[in-house]
Subunit: 336 residues, 2 copies
């Protein structure tokens, strides 16, 4: 047998180098700058205010990581970084990485403490305010955040819009709808569907602007509310994307019960996020997301398809299944 | 053309999650514990003092990242983590990851500041002591660190011992020899070679123990000294592994000149580390290592094969070449 090699251990163990390099590039708006026009080393260094000692290594690292291209001494965005990391494009998802850079990277330095105590390590650790309450109190930042959530979930939203048997249903409610991309994609792909986006009142204008921009204001309405305080809006299909994992087991079960109560006989509940594989041995992103819930919440955790179908059956759903969407994401479907 | 996908951006941007998970596992000595015997979830959680909320996600994340295996409810090391991350084995390389966890992870949170100022962001930033001076003052920690350096360079050391034409030479000097694994592997593979390990006096006993354990005390000697203050020991081949990148351009040139002066006509100088490709577009690890030199030193940087052969030619070497070793590592060879 050949001797074991340390490459994979070192690559992951020092993986924060590449990660932080990309996060700093988003922070200083490198991709936004290059989206205006490609630039050579000196011009780019000057425009971004970087030091001569560091600029060339920094840019060339991003070339080697395939987030930039360099041709004849000029740096260019790749198609993906131009599309997703130019702040002036609607497809910008850098908001998630800005948050990762400012908040999650330093909070994750306390992972070992979280593992030992089971306690969150974000702003609340030092008695600070709930960061999501702060976010919801600032309309401009909230809009930016909700747009970023659209960017990271858009591929899965398209898959749900295309692959779920929408022909069997007429109305849909999206719980925790945010900017509303999921329900928007469902409505765009299925002209017979009308729907309701349900979320906290602060989200209303962001949702309504997005729906109007997509020409769907006559079919998609916003309903303000909290899923803690009231029943969910009634519909043939109830959806929750990236909602259940934020909460502890009791709240998860309560939400599944409320979804059941909002549906007619034959109605469908779709819960989707980076669902962990039942063996808990392959979907690393889903498991890491669960550790991120440890850092960020008092009781949240990600879960397997089997976990979720179990809660669905407890709530009375007669039929359940799990379907893969894209990347680490799957949807769990319960039929009442 | 298909729409760009955000997967690679998100995977690298959130790559610090996987990285910190492995670093925490090394910190709490998970792999050392499992090297004693495999354990089930409850026993492992209890022995490591982890909270029930976090333990299962943590262990299963390491399974999905392929650093642990789980069979019939018991967790096992993989061959690689058992070999490299069990603290009681001589092959342990966790010292590097312990340092990354305690020091580099938090220092890299200030990468953007380093990019803007060109200044190091380690302990010295707040007027703290040079961390390497601290390390060299503590024999137990120094030994641990030098052993870890052996672990991460062993594969490249073997390649140099096997692939360089040692038959043309009789003596070798290894500059900054540390524990001496490079010169040890050269001597083991080439029984006609005698050599000198050159490093600071604090390193003597660590080097001599290692050489003795390998049965080479009659062929390999330690010479204490500083390459700033004195000439290098004379030999047919002079080697520097992971030395040049620590220093600024003036020191690099001085070291190349001193290597030239230590060699006879026809002698060879070998400089090796994660040499950056000449186009500076593929060896991401070498470029990231250079950014790590930005974080850790006042003037250090990694360099291409062309950079190094240029300094060699300036110093008078008549012939140069670059040869790949393993992973991101190459050696640059200059013939006097």
């Amino acid at each position: 047998m050949s001797e074991p090699q340390p490459d994979q251990i070192l690559q992951v163990g020092l993986g924060f180098w590449a990660s932080k390099t990309l996060l700093s590039a988003v922070e200083i708006e490198l991709f936004t700058e290059l989206a205006r026009h490609p630039e050579d080393l000196e011009a780019l260094q000057r425009r971004l205010g970087l030091h001569p000692r560091s600029a060339r290594d920094f840019f060339d690292t991003l070339v080697a990581l395939k987030f930039l291209e360099r041709r004849e001494g000029r740096y260019y965005n790749t198609p993906a970084t131009d599309f997703f990391l130019d702040k002036r494009k609607p497809s910008y998802i850098g908001g998630v990485l800005e948050m990762a850079n400012q908040r999650l990277y330093p909070f994750w330095s306390r992972l070992t403490i979280a593992l030992r105590t089971g306690l969150p390590q974000n702003e609340t650790r030092d008695g600070g305010p709930d960061p999501f309450a702060v976010l919801y109190a600032d309309p401009a930042r909230l809009k930016q955040f909700l747009k970023a959530m659209t960017g990271v979930s858009h591929g899965a939203n398209l898959a749900i819009a295309r692959h779920f048997p929408w022909n069997n249903y007429r109305t849909v409610a999206d719980i925790g709808t945010a900017q509303g991309d999921l329900i928007t994609q469902v409505a765009l792909a299925n002209p017979h569907i009308d729907g309701t986006g349900f979320d906290l009142p602060e989200v209303a204008s962001v949702f309504e602007d997005y729906v109007e921009a997509n020409g769907l204001s006559d079919r998609l309405k916003f309903l303000p509310g909290s899923f803690f305080d009231q029943p969910l809006p009634k519909a043939d299909v109830v959806m929750m994307g990236h909602i259940l994992h934020d909460w502890n087991l009791d709240v998860k079960r309560m939400l599944v019960r409320k979804a059941f109560e909002a549906l007619p006989q034959g109605g469908a509940f779709i819960a989707y996020e980076s669902i962990i594989d039942d063996d808990r041995s392959t979907n690393a992103f889903g498991l890491l997301m669960s550790l991120n819930m440890l850092i960020e919440t008092t009781g949240g955790f990600d879960y397997t398809g089997a976990d979720c179908t179990g809660w669905m059956k407890e709530a009375g759903f007669r039929e359940t299944r799990v379907e893969h969407l894209v990347g680490p994401d799957s949807m769990v479907i319960g039929i009442k």
